[in-house]
């Protein structure tokens, strides 16, 4: 009886060792949130950008290393555009150069993009769709006497036709050290054109060149569109050389009082050090004198 009980216990124990129920439950995959946007540029290239975040007890964080599939659909079939891996900022970006693909559009001219994450052990799958109309925007510069203007024109590309891009804001920027500085707000008229007066206070490089950037921002129909062009209308940046080198807290040469103070302090301290070392040398020499 004892033996039967022992063996039974052994079997049960061995069974429980390999029992799934005894292993710690795997963590449930977490949810991720995808923001999907598109940018179109000067050179007619287009970027598809997803920003992937998740959250935990500490708050929201960007998710790195997730593969995102970008696709295009024409309503009947899906065209796989490519894959991008999210970086440390959670951004997965894919660039499509001009001419690489002929975007299928519906009757209203919408192109349908999809960004999809297939899922992993850590995160559930996620998908976002985006529909944008293809637009072409251009800027040009015109001078009329002292007046300088930036002209712009926008066209919406349909399947076999085009429409003027009308009744929308168009923002103008110039690049600065940390971010772009807005210089004007434009407006597309009914015929798809518009203009802004180029401000006289913009500072460019040393020869007066400045890059003018114009954007349609986060438009519900067009996404983001950016065009830019260089023009020599800015005020040249002049570096004013000091007539004589000045001594300030921030200049290469320190204030005189600071240098003098430092010299006095260091001389005082090191003078005492050398005195002590001299005493040690004399102690050593006095030993040699004794021997003689």
């Amino acid at each position: 009886m004892k033996k039967i009980l022992t063996y039974t216990l052994l079997v049960i124990l061995t069974g429980t060792l390999f029992s799934q129920a005894l292993f710690a439950q795997d963590d449930e995959p977490g949810d991720i949130y995808m923001e999907f946007s598109t940018w179109k540029y000067n050179d007619m290239s287009r970027s598809l950008i997803t920003t992937i975040t998740s959250d935990n007890d500490d708050g929201e964080y960007f998710v790195k290393g997730l593969p995102v599939q970008f696709m295009l659909t024409d309503g009947e079939e899906t065209i796989h555009l490519g894959e991008a891996i999210s970086d440390a900022n959670g951004i997965a970006e894919m660039n499509i150069h001009e001419g690489t693909i002929d975007y299928p559009k519906d009757e209203e001219g919408y192109i349908y993009f999809t960004a999809r994450f297939e899922g992993s052990d850590q995160y559930w799958e996620a998908e976002e769709e985006l529909m944008v109309k293809d637009v072409v925007v251009s800027i040009s510069f015109e001078k009329d006497g002292e007046d300088k203007m930036v002209l712009f024109e926008g066209v919406i590309l349909g399947v076999d036709e085009e429409w003027p891009l009308a009744d929308d804001d168009f923002y103008f920027y110039v690049p600065r050290m940390f971010s772009d500085m807005k210089i004007a707000d434009g407006w597309f008229e009914e015929d798809g054109t518009g203009y802004i007066d180029f401000p006289t206070t913009v500072i460019g490089d040393s020869t007066g060149n400045v890059l003018v950037i114009a954007r349609l921002e986060e438009h519900y129909d067009y996404g983001n569109v950016e065009v830019s062009a260089m023009i020599n209308w800015a005020s040249p940046k002049q570096l004013i050389a000091a007539e004589k080198p000045s001594r300030e807290l921030w200049t290469p040469v320190a204030p005189l009082w600071m240098i003098i103070t430092l010299i006095i302090m260091l001389a005082g301290v090191w003078g005492h050090y050398f005195y002590a070392i001299f005493q040690l040398i004399m102690i050593k020499r006095s030993k040699k004198k004794e021997i003689k």
Partner: protein, 439 residues
């Protein structure tokens, strides 16, 4: 030529065991410390190969535990210099057993502290630029100059202090040590034999250096404080940071000295030399410093709170919320415990004073943590990207491993140093009455 100091030999006979071949426990202790250091070196390897991302430091909280450790070790080095320099100058009768330990603390902490700066620097290959393109206007440049000057000064002072003992060790024939150690003692002794002229020169040099190490230590720690206080960062911008840091430094260093005294008293059975009187005297110093430290801390936070500037309110809010218990321990328990234990005669036992010293050391480390990290977590200029792991800081295993390795290195250097030089000065000298006068 031997020195004629037979009184030294009598004392050396007592300390032979400390200097000669150590026992098994010594080697076990050394191995334990070396293992901790090796763990720290592995952490360093991880940090170098993977970058500072393995630490808790980010774009916002750019300084972490490494800087806290740097300030802490520099602080205790200053205390060692102040205590040894002052006790030497005032020729206090009870100073001898304490002064050597204080000098050791100074030197060892001075070498370990700046290493933490190197750990904090992301691009060590750019370190030479500090010297090649250093600006005199920069507090960092001041700090480099001050610390290097302090190290040299303290090494000279320590050497002057131990010279007589080295000469005694050189001449003590009964000492069973290896030949290379005998040669080392002989070389370091510089031919000192205790002649009147040599004594005069040695005393002059030691007196001068005792004054210098005190002055240099004040300057070094003030410069360290100014690295923080010349910024506009709320929590750092303070006119009293210099003296505040100096007081805190002496306070923490005094506590480390008490701990060292207790440990060596136990290990080397120095009950005859390190009596209750020594602990009480250093304890009273700790009490006075606790009072000053409490006063400066109160003054700091009162003025910040009263001013009601939004950035100060942000910082104080953070201290009272996320760091509340750390704040209480560092600024209340760390202050009150020495006041009570040393202030009440009934509690003035060696063990109680030592326990208080341990609490003080922890409290002062936390105090430095509260100075560095919460201030960086409450930025002066709003930050655009406020992701949690950038705004809040917590030390990673790499930082803790290197912190522990630094403490282990400190203990190792102390242990090895005490094997070369007796921890209690053994040499005797006749001191003329006029030397008793205060300079």
């Amino acid at each position: 030529m031997e020195s004629k100091n037979t009184a030294s030999f009598d004392k050396l006979r007592e300390f032979r065991e400390q200097v000669e071949r150590p026992g098994t426990i010594f080697y076990i202790w050394i191995v334990f410390l070396v293992l901790l250091i090796l763990w720290g070196l592995y952490a360093l390897y991880v940090q170098i190969t993977q970058g500072h991302i393995v630490t808790g430091m980010r774009d916002n909280v750019v300084w972490g535990i490494y800087i806290v450790n740097f300030i802490f070790f520099m602080g205790i080095s200053y205390a060692g210099a102040l205590v040894s320099g002052t006790l030497h100058l005032f020729r206090t009768s009870w100073r001898k057993p304490v002064i050597r330990m204080a000098e050791f603390i100074t030197i060892i902490a001075l070498f370990i502290g700046p290493l933490y700066i190197l750990l904090c620097i992301g691009r060590l290959d750019r370190l030479p630029y500090l010297i090649l393109f250093g600006r005199i206007q920069s507090p960092i440049t001041w700090d480099v100059i001050a610390i290097s000057t302090d190290i040299i000064g303290c090494v000279i002072f320590l050497y002057l202090s131990v010279l007589r003992d080295i000469a005694a060790l050189r001449d003590f024939k009964e000492l069973k040590i290896s030949r290379w150690r005998k040669k080392l003692y002989s070389w370091l002794a510089l031919g000192y034999t205790g002649t009147p002229e040599q004594q005069r020169r040695l005393n002059n040099a030691t007196d001068i250096m005792a004054v210098m190490v005190i002055a240099i230590a004040i300057i070094v720690y003030s410069v360290l404080a100014w690295i923080f206080s010349v910024t506009l960062q709320p929590g750092w911008r303070s006119t009293i940071f210099g003296p505040y840091f100096v007081i805190a430094a002496v306070f923490s260093g005094t506590a480390v000295l008490v701990i060292a005294m207790w440990i060596f008293r136990k290990i080397y059975k120095l009950e005859k030399y390190l009596t209750r009187k020594h602990f009480v005297n250093i304890g009273i110093l700790m009490l006075i410093l606790a009072a000053f430290f409490g006063y400066f801390t109160f003054s700091e936070y009162l003025t910040k709170w009263y001013g009601s500037q939004i950035n100060d309110e942000l910082l104080i809010g953070l201290l009272m919320d996320k760091y509340f218990w750390m704040f209480i321990f560092a600024n209340y328990i760390g202050v009150l415990m020495p006041l009570i234990v040393v202030g009440v005669p009934r509690f003035r036992t060696i063990n109680m004073i030592t326990i208080t010293a341990v609490v003080v050391v922890i409290a002062l480390w936390l105090n430095r943590y509260l100075i560095v990290i919460p201030t960086l977590e409450s930025p002066y200029i709003p930050i655009q990207d406020a992701r949690i792991d950038w705004v809040s800081y917590s030390g990673t295993w790499v930082e803790w491993a290197l912190s522990i390795a630094g403490v282990a290195a400190f203990c190792l250097a102390f242990t090895v140093g005490s094997r070369f030089i007796p921890i209690i000065p053994v040499s005797e000298e006749k001191e003329k009455k006029k030397r008793q006068e205060i300079l």
